[in-house]
């Protein structure tokens, strides 16, 4: 592990909104090729942490990214409903004009049939796709410009359980193929055990940090989720 390159170092990170402390005292680092999961209850500041990492909110403390690192981001909130008149092709072309490149990326997110891509996916209204397909399109969007790091905010919110596994397998496959580093927010500890090599538990402050199997013990889960801890632990034991 010692020869791995550290690409992100966070020191004593804090975020305040109107004197209200949302995050404080966060310390962690990310190495190239890591999959870091951020877990915590609703309102714990997970999305705020992402926004701080992206430089979108003012913060105290230090965030060091390696120079010239390209960061891709899939936010949690998308206003893509059935009604939105926007085709998949138009959406992806906002980021990349080259159609061959777009088709290539769609293939790597698991939509393999070129005929299907050209005649059904690209010309389709994005809101008419299923939740899982929209998720793939968003992942395609985020990897179009070959980022080094991917930030995913609850990448499977609103997707059924089977679809969820598929999306994580896809992320894993992309990581292996393209050597991404992935930082993801998840509410599902099963996913964290299965896919992440590091985890940070956040509830305003850092409750735990390390390998999932070591640090996600009953005590820190209780501290993280309060009364819900036994529920989560039970789910993990299944």
């Amino acid at each position: 592990m010692a020869n791995q390159e550290t690409i992100l170092t966070v020191e004593n990170l804090g975020v305040k909104f109107d004197n209200n402390e949302v995050l404080k005292g966060l310390n962690f680092f990310v190495q190239k090729g890591d999959v870091l999961a951020i877990v915590g209850p609703n309102g714990a500041g997970k999305s705020v942490l992402f926004r701080a990492l992206l430089g979108l909110v003012p913060y105290s403390g230090k965030i060091y990214w390696s120079p010239k690192l390209k960061v891709g981001y899939v936010p949690q909130k998308f206003n893509i409903d059935k009604d939105l008149p926007l085709s998949v092709e138009e959406f992806l072309k906002f980021k990349e004009k080259n159609l061959d490149k777009i088709i290539g990326v769609l293939k790597s997110v698991g939509i393999r049939d070129e005929h299907h891509i050209e005649h059904h996916v690209l010309k389709q209204r994005i809101g008419w796709l299923s939740g899982g397909q929209i998720q793939r399109i968003l992942i395609a969007w985020s990897i179009l410009d070959n980022p080094d790091v991917l930030l995913f905010d609850e990448p499977t919110a609103g997707i059924d359980v089977g679809g969820e596994e598929t999306i994580y397998n896809l992320l894993k496959k992309l990581k292996n193929e393209r050597g991404f580093t992935i930082i993801l927010i998840s509410h599902d500890l099963n996913i964290v055990y299965k896919y992440a090599n590091n985890v940070i538990c956040v509830n305003k402050e850092m409750v735990c940090y390390g390998e999932p199997s070591t640090v996600l013990d009953p005590a820190s889960l209780a501290k993280l989720y309060g009364g819900e801890a036994s529920f989560y632990k039970h789910e993990h034991n299944n």
Partner: protein, 257 residues
């Protein structure tokens, strides 16, 4: 008489330009889920027109000032909360209409409410042409950023897009097109010319390009058809233009995608 300065030609020119601009902007208002705002924003212009008439200045400036203040208000609400501001808009805009009706001098009230494109002068055509050109040019510059901001504010911000600036600029364009469009349909119905053609275009479009272009086209056709029809049957053009857009909307329902 020279055709360029003939009254009907001027009316058609102004009407079509405003229809195009309003329809195009309307497509983004609908995507922003601001149909109600689009529909009633023109009501806010009335107190502005009234004050301008009382102060004996050009009513356009009064209307634009009132609309500008309204969009600053909407923009502020948009920034402060992600919740829909529909209730406040519904209340505030209706109140300004009531106030406007009360203070607009009687002789001008009917024209302010329903517009009167038959009174258009060549200089109005020139102003309309210039403003519509500015509106469309600005939109071509910002439509990508605007659309991404509508899809996801967070995504747009992460791409370095100044979401609130783009939104403000867009609302400013809406205020401008509504202000110049008041001549055509008046404060009661100008909002309809922003929303109805775009709603019709949405019925029969899958993608954004077709949606926005059809919205502009339907706006232009509504103005063209409405003004010609009103001219032929000697009717008031404003309501006929809006009814024409309504007919297009009903037709598109038949081919809904």
């Amino acid at each position: 008489m020279n055709i360029i300065t003939s009254p009907l030609f001027l009316q058609l020119l102004v009407g079509i330009l405003i229809g195009l601009g309003a329809g195009y902007l309307g497509s983004f208002m609908i995507m922003k889920r601001m149909s109600l705002v689009g529909d009633v924003i023109s009501h806010v212009a009335l107190p502005g027109i009234a004050i301008a008439i009382i102060l004996e200045i050009n009513p356009f400036f009064g209307a634009f000032t009132a609309l500008f203040l309204a969009i600053v208000g909407i923009w502020f609400l948009e920034r402060r909360t992600e919740l829909s501001s529909e209730t406040l808009v519904g209340i505030f805009f209706a109140l300004s209409l009531a106030l406007g009706i009360l203070i607009t001098p009687e002789p001008e009230l009917l024209e302010a409410l329903f517009g009167d494109i038959t009174k258009i002068r060549p200089i109005d055509a020139l102003i309309t042409f210039a403003l519509t050109a500015i509106v469309l040019f600005t939109m071509f510059r910002i439509y990508r950023e605007l659309t991404i901001s509508i899809i996801s504010k967070q995504l747009a911000q992460s791409m370095g897009i100044n979401v609130s600036k783009i939104s403000f600029l867009f609302l400013l364009l809406v205020a401008a097109i509504v202000a110049i469009g008041l001549k055509v349909t008046g404060v009661f119905l100008m909002g309809a010319l922003v929303i109805v053609p775009a709603a019709a275009a949405k019925n029969i479009s899958i993608g954004l390009t077709r949606f926005t272009k059809l919205a502009a086209l339907f706006g232009g056709i509504s103005a063209l058809g409405g003004i010609l029809f009103a001219n032929y049957f000697n009717l008031h053009p404003g309501p006929i233009v809006v009814l024409a857009s309504g007919v297009i909307f009903l037709l598109t329902l038949l081919f809904r995608k």
